[in-house]
């Protein structure tokens, strides 16, 4: 057993037991040393593990504080990311980066399983939570399923809500894959991250109850801001 890991977990338990919320202060290094009867250096490396995990942050000469919680992505239900983000903060912004109508070419056949020439919309949106850009979503939607999608305000509501309420399509089935990749150059500046950092790449399809593809999507997400729950 690695002592740093054990201690890091025990500190996690303290945060849970004391119900410390975002921005609240952890016990000091000195207090933690006394609780666990270990050296300052040991406590520091355990705290460092939690910091790397994004659970806590430090303020120099002040102490350790609880970080923003991760956005929970529920892998058991088809939920809109908009709703998941709003459950975390009231300060959620969706920015429409681009809206295009194209015809399916060779590049998309494999992932969309649609014939060449099928018209689709490509909606690229940036999600910002508490001024922190957390995710870029690119949705590919067959025009035939959602004609005139451009007449709706895609910065305001959830795309799934529009699909459900306006087009009366029930999303039933979803197949998503999560990978960790180097983000390409068009994505990095949007998320304000350094080049050659790895990020989460979630991609997959959502179908209606007749197994028709309604949306294929690609999402690039900051690793330390999300968790998947199933």
């Amino acid at each position: 057993m690695n002592l740093d890991f054990v201690l890091a977990n025990e500190i996690k338990y303290i945060i849970k037991e004391k119900q410390l919320k975002e921005g609240e202060c952890l016990p000091s290094e000195r207090e933690l040393c006394a609780i666990f009867n270990v050296q300052r250096l040991t406590i520091r490396s355990a705290l460092h593990l939690l910091e790397e995990e994004g659970m806590i942050y430090t303020k120099p000469k002040s102490g350790y504080y609880v970080n923003k919680p991760r956005v929970i992505i529920n892998a058991k239900n088809i939920a809109s990311l908009t709703n998941e983000l709003f459950s975390l903060s009231n300060n959620v912004l969706t920015k429409l980066i681009s809206f295009e109508k194209i015809e399916v070419g060779k590049h998309f056949i494999a992932c969309l399983k649609l014939l060449i020439g099928t018209p689709i919309y490509i909606v690229k949106r940036l999600r910002i939570v508490d001024d922190d850009p957390v995710c870029v979503n690119i949705s590919y939607i067959p025009v035939a399923k959602c004609p005139d999608l451009d007449k709706y305000d895609l910065e305001k509501g959830s795309l799934y809500k529009i699909i459900n309420d306006e087009y009366h399509i029930q999303l039933k089935k979803s197949e998503q894959i999560v990978d960790v990749v180097y983000a390409d150059k068009t994505i990095l500046p949007l998320l304000k991250i350094q080049s050659h950092e790895k990020i989460i790449y979630q991609h997959g399809s959502v179908f209606d109850n007749n197994d028709n593809l309604i949306e294929y999507s690609e999402s690039y997400m900051k690793p330390n801001r999300f968790m998947y729950k199933s």
């Binding site: 057993m1 690695n2 740093d4 890991f5 054990v6 977990n9 025990e10 996690k12 338990y13 849970k16 037991e17 593990l49 790397e52 995990e53 991760r70 892998a75 058991k76 239900n77 088809i78 039933k172 089935k173 979803s174 197949e175 998503q176 894959i177 999560v178 990978d179 960790v180 180097y182 390409d184 150059k185 050659h196 790895k198 989460i200 997959g204 690793p223 330390n224 999300f226 968790m227 998947y228 729950k229 199933s230």
Partner: protein
């Protein structure tokens, strides 16, 4: 493509062609950036741009302080798991078997601990109840795939230390003791590899891992397992399927 095209594109095209022609074989190390710049009298930045772009496109990968290599398509066969794991009562081994790969387990640490509040909370135990821990390194064809830290309440598995889980499946054993997890909840996060895991798994220190936390409950709805699993992102993808019947 003709000679008026930007040099980095030409270099890119040349490398792709050589990979296709099997001149550069999967897993092979590419000539250094310096050598390529010298060979074609081009700027090293141009070479760097071409290589980075091929890394982004998935043709090449880099290992820090070692060089740039051609992606191994077959050896890098990715295994898919995610909420599939929660439904498969046989765990990681079964998923790898499905993919035609044999998983080797190595127990790197085991023993009895108590007094760890975090684990007591996860396993829903009283204070100072004994917990048995097993840390296993799981590999395929000699390459580490996952590191699993499993914790079980000792009271349900009093003879657990008599078994060697390098060979015996933990879930088979838990089934014999009537405490096989029948429902598993998991949380997955993507985290940068932490010390000393990079050393144990022999991976690059800035690489990321899928970190799963499983809570397993048996048929009586008692928590019988808490596992943290660190899985390599380059060896596996995580798949989530929602398909209500």
């Amino acid at each position: 493509m003709d000679y008026r095209m930007p040099l980095y594109l030409q270099l890119k095209e040349m490398i792709i062609q050589r990979i296709k022609d099997k001149e550069y074989l999967p897993g092979e190390k590419l000539p250094s950036e310096r050598d390529m710049a010298g060979a074609y009298q081009i700027n090293r930045m141009t070479v760097k741009n071409a290589i980075n772009s091929l890394v982004d496109d998935g043709y090449l990968y880099k290992i820090k302080n070692k060089g740039t290599f051609v992606v191994k398509k077959d050896g890098d066969k990715k295994i898919y798991f995610g909420n599939k794991l929660s439904h498969s009562k046989f765990g990681l081994s079964a998923i790898f078997k499905e993919a035609g790969l044999c998983i080797e387990n190595e127990v790197i640490d085991k023993g009895i601990i108590s007094g760890k509040r975090f684990l007591e909370d996860k396993l829903d135990l009283e204070k100072d109840e004994s917990i048995y821990y097993i840390h296993r390194l799981r590999s395929v064809e000699g390459n580490s795939v996952a590191l699993e830290h499993t914790y079980v309440p000792l009271k349900f598995f009093p003879d657990i230390d008599n078994y060697n889980f390098s060979h015996v499946s933990l879930y088979d054993y838990m089934e014999i003791r009537n405490h096989l997890p029948s429902e598993i909840n998991d949380i997955m996060t993507v985290q940068k590899v932490k010390h000393p895991i990079e050393r144990i798994m022999n991976i690059d220190s800035d690489d990321f891992l899928f970190v799963y936390e499983f809570i397993g409950r048996d048929k009586q709805n008692t928590i019988v397992e808490y596992t943290t699993s660190y899985t390599r992102c380059d060896k596996a993808s995580c798949a989530y399927k929602i398909n209500p019947c």
